[in-house]
């Protein structure tokens, strides 16, 4: 029919238009650092069980990216970053109010389970393949604090901005040693072994976006409740002191 193509265009445009708010359920949009992937997936499910009218939508990415998104006006209700320094940018811009610490993530020296055990001094070994997070991400900044505390001058062969990809390189044996989060090690399913790195940990921080609805604060309270702390502990995080 003659108007077929025009009809198609109209249908396509209609399909792309977001539908109005679903009146029966509220959507709570939570932006969380990638290291919280597993913990907050479980957290969302547990929270939804206590608040049946709320649907939690998780947005996971690097902390700096999440802050960037919020600063550019992304419709987010809760922001959880992997360190306080990254959250500070959102605070300075007046976008978030009163961030609170809700967990610690210790850093560990990690190595492939199939290879020999390593310690922090091995990160200075040029003949080993060493991986670190890039210094501009929380994992990398904290790793360097730990290295400084141990008096080790690392010679990294790669600096990843995604700690999970660093973990994958260790798991496959392509790297000999690296520094990752304690919470990441169990996700490698036994392919990576680790030892604590003293003096290196990040404090995870959570805050509601200024204009967000009530469920945002409910979610934050849940994260800090006993149940929330239990979920975080199950996923390798330590409670905030």
């Amino acid at each position: 029919m003659r108007n077929g193509p025009l009809l198609l265009v109209i249908l396509l445009v209609a399909a792309c238009t977001p539908d109005g708010a679903d009146s029966s359920r509220d959507t709570l949009r939570v932006s969380a650092a990638a290291s919280l992937t597993d913990a907050f997936t479980a957290m969302a499910t547990a929270f939804e069980a206590t608040a049946p009218d709320v649907d939690v939508e998780l947005n996971l990415a690097g902390s700096a990216t999440l802050v960037e998104q919020v600063l550019r006006g992304a419709p987010v209700d809760v922001l959880a970053t992997a360190d306080a320094r990254t959250m500070q940018r959102a605070v300075d811009a007046g976008v978030v109010a009163d961030p609170v610490a809700f967990a610690h993530n210790d850093l560990v020296v990690a190595w492939p389970a199939a290879g020999p055990a390593r310690d922090v001094e091995d990160l200075a070994e040029r003949r080993l393949l060493v991986g670190l997070c890039a210094p501009q991400v929380p994992c990398g900044a904290a790793a360097r604090e730990g290295l400084a505390a141990a008096g080790v001058r690392a010679s990294p062969d790669t600096e990843d901005i995604d700690v999970r990809s660093l973990l994958a390189r260790l798991a496959s044996g392509d790297l000999d040693v690296g520094i990752v989060y304690a919470s990441d090690v169990p996700t490698a399913g036994g392919a990576v072994e680790a030892a604590p790195l003293p003096g290196a940990s990040t404090t995870l921080v959570i805050a509601p976006i200024r204009t967000s609805p009530a469920p945002a604060q409910d979610f934050i309270d849940f994260v800090r409740s006993r149940k929330g702390v239990e979920i975080l502990r199950d996923h390798g995080f330590e409670a905030a002191t």
Partner: protein, 268 residues
């Protein structure tokens, strides 16, 4: 040519399709325009002069050129083999050679690790015999980039070789020219336009390479962090640098397209 004798122009497409076409054009042009709007113009020179930028640019130039040379040195013989020599399984080999064209680059990088990684088929022995470790090295960047961009050269040159009917080369042979002479003085000059286009495409692909490089060679400033990798890292918190470096890549890409315009669009 008088208008009385020119052929009638084809009828215009339906209006609704043209409307969709305008939407499509906007969708393609807007992101680049937005990038230009977003750029830190007042700080551009300062950003592009920083260590982060100059290291990335230097690495990109060196590794992409090395990869292009490697692609020609290895790809030209391969194109000749595929175009001129009949052997069982030729179609299969052609398919495999062209695989990196379609394969997601990260998969290509993973495959390279399986061969040349520490625990790989050849990587372990290579390290033991020569001490050479390709992953996480600048040479590794060249290997990964050659792997993904060589098919561009092979496919372009092979196509051109197939289009030659062989008369001129046959005549040269009959006149006493040996195979190398025929190649040097007849075959290659005849496929020169395609060879040049193939080299340009190969180099452009090499410059834009990301997935295989980051998987196989990792990301370290001054050693393996080429322009695309530097953009990726800069996105975490240093947007000005990310946009500035992106503009450099856009400029180079546009230069390649404009440079090749006669090959692709005759009216441009």
């Amino acid at each position: 040519m008088s208008s009385r004798h020119s052929p009638p122009s084809p009828p215009r497409p339906p209006h609704s399709l043209l409307a969709v076409a305008i939407v499509a054009a906007t969708a393609v042009v807007l992101p680049v325009v937005a990038l230009l709007v977003d750029a830190p113009w007042s700080r551009l020179v300062e950003v592009l002069r920083s260590d982060v930028a100059t290291d990335a640019l230097g690495l990109s130039v060196v590794t992409s050129l090395a990869a292009t040379i490697a692609a020609v040195v290895l790809g030209l013989p391969l194109a000749l083999l595929l175009a001129r020599v009949e052997f069982p399984g030729r179609a299969v080999l052609r398919g495999l050679v062209l695989l990196p064209l379609v394969l997601p680059p990260v998969v290509g990088g993973t495959a390279l690790l399986a061969v040349l990684g520490r625990r790989g088929l050849l990587g372990g022995p290579l390290e033991e015999v020569t001490g050479l470790v390709l992953p996480f090295s600048t040479a590794g960047v060249v290997v990964a980039t050659t792997f993904v961009s060589m098919p561009f050269l092979v496919i372009t040159v092979e196509g051109a070789l197939r289009n030659l009917d062989g008369r001129h080369e046959g005549a040269a042979s009959t006149l006493g020219a040996g195979p190398w002479t025929v190649l040097r003085r007849v075959t290659l000059p005849m496929v020169r336009p395609s060879l040049v286009a193939g080299i340009a495409l190969t180099w452009a692909r090499a410059l834009g390479e990301f997935g295989a490089t980051i998987t196989f060679a990792g990301s370290l400033q001054g050693r393996t962090r080429t322009l695309p990798l530097a953009v990726f890292v800069a996105l975490e918190g240093d947007r000005d640098t990310a946009v500035a470096l992106s503009l450099v890549l856009v400029a180079i890409s546009l230069a390649v397209i404009v440079g090749l315009r006669h090959r692709w669009w005759h009216e441009l």
